[in-house]
Symmetry: C2
Subunit: 484 residues, 2 copies
């Protein structure tokens, strides 16, 4: 495992170390330092930034590990020539706007099977590494809940779910400036069940559901299973769904509901600006169309501020807002929730009818983990880790993948959306990679209309071990061969 | 709390004590001892059964607590005059056979709310008392799983779920003479989710689902929410669904699937004889109609042998068999499963799409609890407790409720189905009882066709504390007033 500066420096040193890294990254981003350029010597930068030579050296070594710099013996550090172009982000795709039946084969199942298999490099499912999760602290909390509330941990807690957890969630909404009472929240089995309940509540077989494009494939599958039609609305890789394209669709089609991942969309990484969210809610509300939003990545922002959610702009109770702790705390706890505005009662009926109570133990443990402040402290560390992992992956891909590759630049979350040169078929990449025990997700899964043929999604939810780095290099080799 | 003989006697004494109780109950059942009769003196019975006087005395005192006997000072024990008639079981209801849209209001939600409220006497939801559950042992197992597999406990375990648990379940099927591989089992969030997945797999909005009558109201609600039609097939209070009535329905209507609770049906307590199960499967298979069975009460038999299930007679893979540990081990663990025969792949897709993984921790803990043999040892105690609780409730109801009351005589499970005199409306009973902080379930919920107007269901899943006895007496008072 690459040594991380966090282990080796005091917090004061870490600040200085960050300063050096950011300084160099900034110079590269601005084009001041170009591939092949020699970066400032240790001595010079030590002087100009007023930090020790050791700190600069450590920062440079870590940038080397990330693939940004390259050390030459007796000569110093250079910007890696692998970065022989700007890292381009994927192009927006404009497509004809037609609602489609979603149809996929067994590939969905296979993606999850791959993800259950520890021998396969973990770039396939969007899952965080358990090494980054606070297993010990959360399990300490869970054991404590068991000791104090053994019977309650084992007994039914019928929907809407445990009050203490719902209260903690309502406090988090309050931090977003949203007044959602605990009574308006329903605990679910992950965000997946929340979205399922929401779709069942607002639409029926044959109805048209507007979605972003690309859209998380499990959402498309859910729409497929329910016999609804997915209408893919063109979306910008940076700002999410195109409101113009949506306006056109709303004017010409009978849309029953819309479903979006406004913050750090999976796979594109797009982040809808707050003004877009407001406008989106207003456009749909005017037409009395419910909006389902999935905010599972919202807490994983790389910037300084947590983005808001569509629900913040909801004046008519038409936004059904779902999320979970699966990407941030404990995937296997399956603790999610939804707040459904005017659809609350119907959601509650669906929850009661289709799965009844959610497990009590996890609700109690997560509630306590939030209350004690441990969750927020964990998030600070987690965001930093994901940001570094995603950044490193971007640089490695930029260096290793063929000319013409474009890579998303997400401001949160932990997946990358990679546009390969046009001639490459994502299924070929998928198949060959799997033969080498490497998992990726083919881009075509993220559309019902066979778009994204030359795209793949790369999960970066794990620390970059030498094994995973090697797997990414192998993957690059496969893609380069396919490109030849 | 009434003292239970288990606390006071060695196992040898307990055997003798049981012998005495059975002897007296037998004499009452056969009509040898009638209400008001003096039962054999302590001395005489001690001699004839070759047990100590103390043992006979203890058995008599416990029968008194159960409401069977009544002590008269200086005179001895008498058969309680409250038992002034044979306890009649509910009559079979014959009805016109029409598929119906199921429609219920908020009453469903209320039943569950009541059940979350500890201040309300627990006769409403069919839930076992946590006092009867092996909280300590299961929580010890859970803590041990956490200690040994912290990360695994928190990480995703995608469908079909954890292999070790599925293996244990397949071993239980093997004991029933059924060869179901672990690969054919899908872990679900309780049996409720299993039934929901099954219905979604085999039927669609508008389709006709044949059910028993009465049917567990959550099943009716599920059918309602999914826009399917419930066709209620007349059922015998003892042997379950009428195969003649079903044959007629199959010949005249386009039925998409059937759903049954073959063992200790909730609420009627009926147990389908094995020959009926075989015939049912064969009748449906001939017509290529899938059968969904819910066996959550199957392990709670009062007799000597576990009843078989419909799946045992399934030659064509048309039976989808669901169950859970919610009624026998840990309601709040939400650990259920389904084995779907030829529908396995579709079930798996629905599970993956609508809720994805089930929580890992409970799967690991329950798997270990089964493997270690603790579950089976617990079941022995649990069956005995439920049998005694149900028996006592029957006698109390027979003694306290108005003339004309008929009570089910279930051979397993823990609910009673009570037919009140015709003039009494179950909703009046429900409303008045609730005002006195007593929960019951109105019979009309168990039908989509407004049958069972004068029926109520009584949950007996808890030990008979003085408070609960008093609540039952109060309930009897209410019903007697309504009957006046």
């Amino acid at each position: 495992m690459p040594s991380t500066p966090e282990n080796q420096h005091s917090s004061r040193d870490r600040f200085k170390y960050d300063q050096v890294s950011h300084y160099i990254m900034d110079l590269i981003d601005k084009g001041t330092l170009k591939p092949g350029d020699r970066v400032p010597s240790l001595r010079k930068l030590s002087k100009s930034l007023k930090v020790s030579i050791a700190t600069v050296n450590q920062a440079y070594l870590t940038l080397e590990e990330k693939g940004v710099l390259k050390a030459k013996p007796q000569s110093g550090f250079y910007v890696h020539t692998g970065i022989n172009r700007e890292i381009a982000t994927p192009k927006p795709i404009i497509s004809t706007c037609q609602p489609r039946k979603v149809r996929f084969g067994q590939l969905f199942e296979e993606i999850f099977e791959i993800s259950n298999d520890a021998s396969i490099a973990p770039f396939a499912a969007a899952r965080p590494s358990m090494e980054l999760m606070p297993s010990k602290a959360l399990m300490r909390e869970t054991r404590s809940v068991i000791a104090r509330h053994a019977q309650e941990s084992m007994d039914y807690c019928f929907p809407p779910g445990h009050e203490r957890l719902r209260h903690q969630i309502s406090l988090r909404y309050a931090e977003l400036g949203l007044s959602i009472a605990a009574e308006e929240i329903i605990i679910t089995s992950g965000a997946t069940e929340a979205l399922s309940l929401a779709l069942q509540t607002v639409a029926r077989r044959g109805d048209i559901i507007a979605v972003e494009s690309p859209t998380y494939f499990s959402v498309l599958r859910l729409i497929e299973k329910m016999g609804m039609l997915a209408l893919e609305i063109d979306s910008d890789p940076l700002t999410g769904v195109s409101l113009d394209a949506l306006e056109f669709a709303l004017d010409t089609m009978d849309i029953s509901a819309m479903l979006v991942v406004p913050n750090f969309n999976n796979p594109s990484g797009s982040l809808m600006p707050s003004s877009h969210k407001r406008q989106l809610v207003s456009m749909l509300s005017e037409r009395n169309i419910p909006l389902i939003e999935d905010d599972v990545y919202g807490d994983l922002y790389f910037g300084n501020e947590r983005p808001d959610i569509c629900k913040c702009h909801d004046e008519q109770g038409l936004v059904l807002s779902a999320s979970s702790f699966s990407k941030t705390l404990a995937p296997g706890f399956r603790t999610g929730w939804i707040t459904g505005g005017r659809f609350h009662e119907q959601l509650l009926e669906w929850k009661q009818a289709t799965s009844s109570a959610s497990p009590s133990l996890q609700q109690l443990a997560v509630g306590e983990f939030l209350r004690s402040g441990q969750y927020d402290r964990h998030l600070v560390r987690l965001r930093k880790a994901f940001k570094a992992q995603v950044e490193k992956a971007r640089f490695m891909i930029a260096r290793l993948f063929p000319e013409g590759t474009r890579i998303s630049d997400p401001q949160g979350g932990f997946v990358l959306w990679v546009e390969l040169p046009r001639g490459i078929n994502c299924f070929d990449v998928y198949t060959e990679a799997l033969q080498h025990h490497i998992g990726i997700t083919p881009g075509m899964l993220f559309s019902a209309t066979r778009k994204f043929r030359n795209y793949i999604r790369i999960n970066c939810g794990f620390p970059w071990t030498p094994e995973n780095e090697q797997a990414l290099e192998q993957l690059a080799g496969i893609i380069n061969r396919l490109n030849a």
